[in-house]
Amino acid sequence: MNAIWSFIRTDRRFIFLVVAVTVIVPVLVTIPFPVPVSNATRAAFNTMEGLKPGDAVLLSFSYGPSSMAEVQPQVEAVMRHAFRKGLRVLTVSLFPDAAPLGSRALARVVDSDEFRSESGGSRLVEGTDYVNFGYRLGTDTLIRRLGQNIPQFIETDVRGERLDALPVMQGIQNFDQIALVVDFAAGDSPDWWVVDGQGRYGVKVAVGVTGVMVSQQFPYLNSGQLAGLIGGGVGAAEYENLINAPATATRRVATLAFVHLLIIAIVIFGNVLYFREQRAAAEGDPA
């Protein structure tokens, strides 16, 4: 028994093995896990749920490939919810890296089974139900420009179609006609949206952010400057749960939970070992 313990203590490869098993098995065998919903994510969901069909939401993509594991599922869940509600979806990328990821999410949701029409194609039509502005230069300046006048500044969508000609843009001038902005972020962009979008033009803003950024957003959420907050992969899973469409995030979070519990177990186990040794040392050395 002691030999096994000392092996575990000295050879970290044992821990590597356990971690590997803890990741691979749940990925292979999907184990449904309850995902309790936090207030922050529920606030984002309720805000979206409160919109009327035909309202416009602007999704802003401000993340990149390295934050994709957490943010991409958030984007897909929010987009799915918006299309289900019959909202008009406008998308813009604040960073060049984000543009292909945003387009990919849009394509995945639009072409998913849920929105398939009888003829086999998607019943969502680009230009009528949604529009993609693509990457636009300017970061925080861009937000201020959009607040002044969207069609005048953007002019054409990613396909080169003039915005004034698109049914989806009818009646949309500036942030007064945007019911909600959701920013998907891996950097400073929530600050820009809160200060410039919410503060200056009064548009409602919700954000989806990576796990490490969550804590910085709470002051905004508490003060009401943010209408909702989806935090990291866990937030994405919560949102999937709320719209009753479990997908990537729900699966990953189930796996994540196993690893988290494993790490807690490892820490407890390490401390048990440590105190046993301490006691043994104290007994062996009565001085």
Binding site: R12, N149, Q152, Q173, V212
Partner: protein, 456 residues
């Protein structure tokens, strides 16, 4: 009078407002109050390179013109020319009272940050009202002091620019379908020009701090030279440096010095170079090799200079081997993989991880730990400190890394700069406490001083 046109007096402004309100009241029964904007002012937007253009502001009564559709800002070159809209095709919202005319900025010179000289412009603010129904036409009141109604004919440029000219009645104009808006123009502003400014007033607080801090630093150095030697507290991680080098020598294995992934511009990398100077000297005296894998070519260059000098200082320039300082690759994780490889193959007995580290911090520190090396880490990235704490024997946290160079060198001018830092910190603490107390009394002087929005 010329001057007054440029700088409308308070009286005139007030008079205009009163007159405008009176006018509104007079025509109120007709429900088509056609008030003009008054007190149009234009000025260069300060604190920029001229690219933000000219700020146009105007006054407008808050009541009495509820059917106002919006404003159009027009401009013409001060030396003559036609009035052209500056605020775009769509009118500005009725609530607006200002407009930043970016178009007044000089064009940027291609491929540079320079700008063509800009032209001075004169501005007019045009208020738009819906056209009246064909039958009863409300005559624009002649009392409108500072502007006039303009018949909705033709392009905006056709609007008369001369204040006081008798406005043609709206009914006289031909009525196209749908009826165009009634346009009421203000009088002209004084000319204004977008220029690049030579000082950013919003950055004065930062300038103040910079000067004060630099002054403090230089004063303390002078004092120290006059014989006031500053003391400095123990920094455990640095005390261990010599121990680690000694141990490596005993075991006859090399030392690995990892200067992080930062470039030469980052302060932490600079500190890493300084610590390396010390390590190279000690190791050189004991005849132990120090291997330095680099991710940045300029950093490699500087590290070589530092190493060469260290060996010269101890009188063994021939013992220095420049190939011990080598470039790996600039890719973050390829660098980490290669350094991991060096660790497991060369089994250094002491590893220094000093400088800028991101995610690779734990990859390096865990591998170093697994080969049983004594590890001394230091970084100013607070998010990576926990991983060094977990896997290294000693960790220099944030500022401790910057203090290292002074600490190791015992150089008096350097030590006195550490003292300057401490005084700076004490000043910040006091400012913090005073600021909070004042804030309770709703005096935000200190918060304002530190407000970075002004410095944008």
């Amino acid at each position: 009078m010329r001057e007054r046109a440029g700088r409308p007096s308070v009286h005139r402004t007030l008079g205009a407002v009163v007159a405008a309100i009176t006018a509104c009241l007079l025509v109120l029964p007709a429900a088509y109050a056609q008030v003009a904007a008054t007190d149009v002012q234009a000025s260069d937007i300060p604190n920029d390179d001229g690219s933000r253009g000219v700020q146009v502001t105007w006054q407008f009564p808050t009541t009495g013109a509820e059917d106002l559709k919006g404003f159009v800002v027009l401009r013409r070159p001060a030396d003559g020319g036609e009035l052209k809209p500056a605020s775009g095709a769509k009118p500005l919202a009725p609530k607006e009272r200002s407009f930043a005319d970016k178009g007044a900025a000089g064009a940027s010179v291609k491929g540079t940050s320079l700008r063509e000289p800009s032209v001075p412009y004169v501005y007019v603010v045009r208020a738009l009202y819906p056209a009246p129904p064909p039958e009863p036409v409300a005559e624009p009141s002649p009392e409108v002091a500072d502007g006039e109604a303009v018949a909705p004919i033709g392009p905006p440029a056709a609007a008369p620019a001369e204040p006081g000219a008798t406005p043609p009645a709206a009914a006289d104009a031909p009525q196209p379908e749908p009826p165009p808006d009634i346009q009421v123009d203000s009088s002209e502003s004084a000319p204004a020009k977008a220029t690049g400014n030579w000082y950013h007033t919003g950055r004065t607080p930062v300038l103040l701090a910079t000067i004060l801090f630099a002054g403090l630093l230089l004063t303390l150095i002078q004092l120290a030279k006059a014989g006031k030697t500053p003391k400095i507290r123990r920094i455990p991680g640095l005390e261990a440096v010599d121990e680690a080098i000694g141990r490596a020598t005993e075991m006859g294995r090399p030392i690995l010095y990892v200067p992080g992934i930062g470039g030469v511009g980052s302060i932490a990398t600079m500190s890493a170079m300084n610590i390396y100077g010390h390590v190279a000297k000690k190791a050189g005296e004991l005849g132990t090799a120090v291997r330095v894998p680099c991710r940045d070519a300029i950093v490699m260059q500087v590290m070589r200079t530092v190493g060469e000098q260290a060996y010269t200082d101890i009188g063994r320039p021939d013992a220095y081997r420049s190939e011990d300082v080598f470039f790996v690759t600039d890719s973050q994780f390829a660098y980490a993989a290669a350094v991991d490889g060096i660790m497991v193959r060369e089994k250094p007995s002491a590893i220094f991880l000093q400088g800028v580290f991101y995610a690779e911090s734990l990859i390096l520190a865990e591998t170093g730990n697994s080969v049983g090396a004594i590890q001394i880490a230091g970084t100013d990235r607070d998010s990576q400190v926990p991983f060094f704490l977990a896997a290294c024997d000693y960790t220099l946290i944030g500022e401790e890394l910057f203090a290292a160079s002074a600490y190791l060198s015992h150089d008096i001018p350097l030590l006195s700069t550490i003292r300057a830092q401490d005084i700076g910190k004490a000043a910040l603490m006091i400012a913090l406490i005073v600021g909070v107390v004042l804030q309770f009394a709703h005096i935000d002087a200190i918060a304002w001083f530190f407000d970075t929005d002004l410095a944008r």
